[in-house]
């Protein structure tokens, strides 16, 4: 399956999810409890092994996104965000290209689309047990590098994409009024692709590396802080244990309620 096909499929899943959710919300129209919009920052690190690589490398992502959130009377909270992502990729060698290329560390700019949902399932006193899920799709803008020192001018172009699904239980404590601390355990599945193309005179080549369904568990804790009647700050931090080290994740958003 081609990289573009995979990308279209990922985008389709995301858009479909959004439509399904939006349809559900429209049907539930009168049940809408809250509407909010704001800005969010998401960071996560993920240690992965790309196809064809012996060693591990890391995907580091910083995403700044505009976010819209709808809360229903049933407690379901659904949000969509669209933003700008900066993804750092490291430790990859593209050895099947006519001239082998080694990517030390590179920041690649791209966009991210995310759909997120949290639903309460049951209350135990002040504790609310529920589930949270998130789908994020990042599609990169290609970055080019000149190939220098050869008899002819050349250029290499890298284009990353990644897609992550996360789902798991969520527990929130609702006895503190404006502050609602919560903890989440997320099962995270990551698909990523990095397409590197090379042109050097008569030579051309393309090599694509993949991460296919890499699984990790993430433990996160955070809080929703209702700073005023209109503004809510949501902060979350977590870790993902990964082969002798821990990858981190951090999320911060400010939402304005209508």
């Amino acid at each position: 399956m081609g990289e573009r096909t995979r990308r279209r499929r990922g985008l389709s899943i995301l858009v479909l999810s959004a439509f399904v959710a939006a349809g559900g919300l429209a049907a539930e129209g009168p049940n809408v409890k809250s509407l909010a919009a704001g800005l969010g920052y998401d960071h996560f690190a993920r240690t992965v092994v790309w196809s064809g690589e012996d060693g591990v490398s890391k995907i580091l992502t910083h995403a700044l996104a505009a976010r819209a959130e709808i809360g229903l009377r049933s407690g379901l909270v659904f949000s969509l965000s669209l933003g700008f992502a900066l993804t750092d990729l490291s430790a990859q060698t593209f050895a099947t290209l006519p001239i082998s290329l080694e990517l030390g560390t590179a920041s690649l700019k791209g966009f991210s689309l995310a759909a997120e949902a949290a639903v309460p399932v049951r209350n135990f006193g002040d504790f609310e047990i529920g589930a949270a899920g998130r789908i994020v799709y990042s599609f990169g803008i290609a970055r080019s590098w000149p190939l220098e020192g050869f008899a002819v001018d050349g250029r290499a172009t890298g284009e990353p994409t990644w897609f992550e699904v996360s789902v798991g239980p969520r527990i929130a404590y609702r006895a503190l009024g404006r502050v609602v601390p919560f903890a989440e355990l997320g099962a995270r599945l990551l698909w990523a692709g990095f397409r590197m193309s090379e042109t050097l005179g008569e030579l051309t080549g393309v090599e694509t590396k993949h991460v296919r369904g890499d699984f990790a568990l993430a433990l996160a804790a955070g809080a929703d802080v209702r700073a005023t009647d209109r503004f809510t700050v949501r902060a979350k931090a977590g870790i993902t244990p990964a082969s002798g080290r821990a990858d981190g994740l951090l999320s911060l958003s400010v939402l304005y309620s209508f």
């Binding site: 690190a45 690589e53 012996d54 060693g55 591990v56 490398s57 890391k58 580091l60 750092d88 490291s90 430790a91 060698t93 593209f94 050895a95 099947t96 006519p98 001239i99 082998s100 290329l101 080694e102 990517l103 030390g104 560390t105 590179a106 920041s107 590098w145 190939l147 020192g149 050869f150 008899a151 002819v152 050349g154 290499a156 890298g158 050097l200 005179g201 008569e202 030579l203």
Partner: protein
């Protein structure tokens, strides 16, 4: 060694004259006949740094020129680096990454600082994997040229120029060759019993000069050529070969006098291609074009073989055939130990690259030098140059088996060093794209 080789040089000088005068116009002759004979720190762990070969807790940083060192150091301290060391002479800082922060994360953070011009990992260095072959360090200036004066005996002293070599050592860190990759040496045969070749020569072979299956060398030329391309390396004896782990398919297409005919060459090319040779080295050539010979080259090329041939040793314009078949054959000129084009090297628009071809040490049959002499001689010619390129082609095929012959030929061309750029910048008719550079052809180019 120098004295022994010197004796060989004198012996070969006489033979060279015979060979040169014996080249029949209608025939084909070896193009090496112009001779004037004569660890490593272990990668203990496989963390991100180990995978790429850089320090897992250190990065190198250079600030923009307008940033004062006081401000630079203050900036670096703000990142929480536990140690910051300034290499004043070049304005670079070596810092240890903050505890728990990887090199990638550190570089990502630094990349967003506008004051910093460059930040990169600190690459791991290791003692070069120098093969232990007896004559490698001293005499194989073609593979690693340390500069200085080299006495090769017979009163001959070469003023070496450091770096005038094909960068074999750094390239071997990336590729030493796949034993399944085969270089067919179409020549006077190959000495299967030679200490530096016995383990490398395939059992099968064919002699088209005498129409039998015995492709032994009853001359010396083919053994010398085979050794340059793929001598047994790191065996504590003799020399190192370019494609040190690849194997040799001996195909005898020149007789005991070093002469042959196009029909033998055509048969040899097709025979080698049919046996799956990855590379075909032809350190020989004839003066006249021939469409049958060209067809044979196309046949082998289309079957996936990279064909490498010597340009010729007349020092005049006119590349010999089959080297002159531009579409299917890589034509190799000879450079010397100072990265100058050898005066004897033929030239013309078909020249693709140059490779060392002056005073190249290689193996020869013991029977050729006699029982008292070491079975190695220095020889010069485009015959000696071609197997350097053939060896490189075999290493590329080993590393990238999916590349076509055309692609391998372009990699060899584009990665060459333009050694005569001061007088003839760019591709020219004497050095082609330049002297082959194994390192640039094989070692990954770093994107940063």
């Amino acid at each position: 060694m120098a004295r022994a080789i010197g004796r060989c040089i004198r012996a070969l000088a006489a033979v060279a004259l015979v060979i040169l005068s014996g080249c029949a116009p209608a025939g084909i002759a070896p193009t090496g006949a112009a001779q004037l004979p004569g660890r490593v720190s272990e990668l203990a762990t496989r963390g991100p740094g180990a995978a790429l070969g850089y320090a897992p807790d250190r990065v190198l940083i250079r600030f923009r020129p307008d940033v004062a060192s006081v401000n630079a150091e203050e900036t670096l301290r703000s990142y929480g680096f536990p140690s910051v060391r300034r290499i004043a002479a070049i304005g670079v800082y070596s810092v240890r990454t903050a505890p728990g922060v990887s090199v990638a994360e550190t570089l990502a953070a630094l990349s967003r600082n506008g004051e910093i011009e460059a930040a990169r990992p600190d690459p791991r260095v290791r003692m070069a994997d120098v093969p232990n072959d007896t004559y490698f360090a001293t005499y194989q200036h073609n593979l690693r040229n340390p500069g200085g004066l080299l006495d090769i005996g017979g009163g001959i002293r070469l003023q070496l120029v450091a770096g005038a070599d094909i960068k074999a050592l750094p390239a071997w860190d990336t590729a030493q060759g796949d034993p399944e990759v085969v270089i067919a040496v179409l020549d006077t045969g190959v000495d299967r019993d030679h200490v530096d070749l016995a383990a490398k020569v395939l059992q099968e072979g064919h002699d088209f000069a005498n129409d039998d299956d015995d492709a032994s060398d009853d001359h010396w030329h083919g053994t010398h050529v085979a050794g340059i391309a793929a001598a047994d390396t790191n065996n504590g004896a003799g020399i190192a070969g370019v494609a040190r782990n690849c194997r040799i398919l001996p195909v005898k297409v020149l007789d005991r006098n070093g002469d042959g005919y196009y029909s033998w060459i055509i048969d040899g090319i097709i025979w080698a291609a049919d046996r799956g040779a990855d590379v075909i080295n032809l350190s020989l050539g004839g003066d006249v074009p021939d469409s049958f010979l060209e067809d044979a080259c196309k046949y082998a090329h289309d079957k996936g073989a990279v064909i490498v041939a010597a340009a010729g040793n007349d020092g005049t314009e006119g590349v010999l055939y089959p080297a002159a078949y531009d579409e299917t054959v890589l034509a190799v000129a000879a450079s010397d130990y100072a990265d100058a084009i050898a005066s004897f090297s033929n030239f013309g628009p078909e020249i693709d690259v140059a490779a060392p071809g002056a005073w190249i040490l290689g193996p020869v049959p013991q029977t050729y030098v006699g029982p008292e002499e070491l079975p190695f001689v220095f020889a010069s010619g485009t015959s000696a140059a071609a197997p350097h390129a053939a060896g490189l082609a075999a290493l590329i095929r080993s590393l990238k088996p999916d590349l076509t012959p055309d692609e391998i030929m372009w990699v060899i061309r584009y990665s060459a060093d333009d050694i005569n750029r001061t007088t003839l910048p760019g591709r020219d008719d004497h050095a082609g794209y330049g002297r082959v550079n194994m390192q640039r052809a094989l070692v990954p180019y770093i994107l940063d």
